[in-house]
């Protein structure tokens, strides 16, 4: 399994629909300060079901919706879709491609979809259970938090072993 494509629209500074094709191996994102690199990491964590607005650096969850710029109005929804290549059937569904989508409207309504079918957050969580992706796993290291795993208390550190077990 690998992350094959990322489709973002209205999420943080990605106002326009943006499609990112990713290969296996090592991909680097580079660019000036404030250009939107960490927002891509936030988009992935959000689509995987992140529930804490604070961990997405916002106050309320609506802060992930494009809030406008000097020349543009705010969007009324944010949407992120992760398209996983599932040829090796790591994800327990019988498809070569699995698309996981999350949507949030400025009204507060939110939706999750798997392969364009509405589902619950619980279904997204179950889809990724045991794969080392999503949830509290250590495969996404946020900016400035590389040593957070070490600095966390002794009980927090257990989580790494529990994931592996």
């Amino acid at each position: 399994m690998h992350l094959k494509r990322l489709e973002i629209v209205g999420f943080k500074s990605f106002a326009d629909k943006t499609v990112l094709n990713l290969d296996t191996g090592v991909t680097a994102f580079v660019g000036p300060n404030g250009s939107g690199k960490s927002n891509i990491v936030d988009a992935i964590r959000w689509a995987l079901g992140e529930q804490s607005a604070k961990r997405l650096r916002g106050g309320a969850m609506q802060d992930v919706i494009f809030a406008g710029s000097a020349a543009r109005k705010a969007s009324n929804f944010a949407e992120v879709t992760l398209i996983m290549d599932n040829h090796d059937r790591t994800l327990p569904v019988d498809y070569n491609e699995v698309a996981v989508t999350r949507r949030l409207f400025s009204s507060g309504d939110s939706e999750y979809l798997i392969n364009r079918q509405t589902c619950r957050l619980k279904d997204v969580r179950e889809l990724f259970l045991g794969t080392g992706v999503g949830g509290g796993s250590y495969n996404i290291i946020e900016q400035g938090k590389v040593d957070a795993l070490l600095q966390a208390g002794p009980l927090e550190r257990r989580r790494v072993i529990e994931e592996v077990a």
């Binding site: 943080k12 290969d23 191996g25 994102f29 580079v30 000097a70 072993i161 994931e163 592996v164």
Partner: protein, 160 residues
């Protein structure tokens, strides 16, 4: 459950020592269970950089802490590979030699795990298979374009 936890701990602890030695070119690291029941007790980490005495984590330098954390993450990956891994400017606190070692480890794991790295470090860029430049040509609106090392260099200098 207890057995699985103890087994996983043993595996990760052994990998941690191996990867720590690779990243630091020597030294030791211990991942130990504190007193108490296997299913509840916390984990302690004791680090000894090469040529130094064992230290509590907080006395380590910024770069030493980052490299130790990277060794732990990769140790867990080795025990139970994850399909992808996102690292946002983990090379920030590192000196040139450690940036090199970090990238060597990432390359080693890249056959089983997909890596996405965010970086300002030119050395790290040379190791990437693909480079995307992210910029705001229109103020406040993020766009990206596939780029190569030469253009990434110019982009970084020009885009601002």
């Amino acid at each position: 459950c207890r057995e699985r936890f103890s087994e996983a701990l043993e595996k990760v602890a052994a990998n941690f020592q191996e990867l720590f030695r690779k990243l630091f070119q020597g030294g030791d690291v211990k991942l130990r269970l504190l007193e108490g029941d296997v299913l509840e007790a916390g984990l302690e980490v004791v680090v000894r950089p090469p040529g130094k005495e064992p230290r509590i984590l907080s006395l380590l330098s910024g770069g030493e802490k980052a490299m130790t954390a990277i060794a732990l993450i990769m140790a867990a990956f080795k025990a139970s590979p994850s399909p992808f891994c996102l690292l946002d400017e983990v090379d920030g606190p590192l000196d040139e030699a450690n940036v090199e070692r970090l990238n060597m480890i990432v390359q080693e794991f890249a056959y089983s795990t997909q890596f996405v790295l965010i970086t300002h470090n030119k050395l790290t860029m040379t190791y990437a298979d693909t480079i995307y430049g992210v910029a705001m040509e229109e103020a406040g609106i993020s766009k990206y374009l596939k780029t190569d090392l030469v253009r990434a260099d110019e982009n970084l200098a020009v885009a601002d």
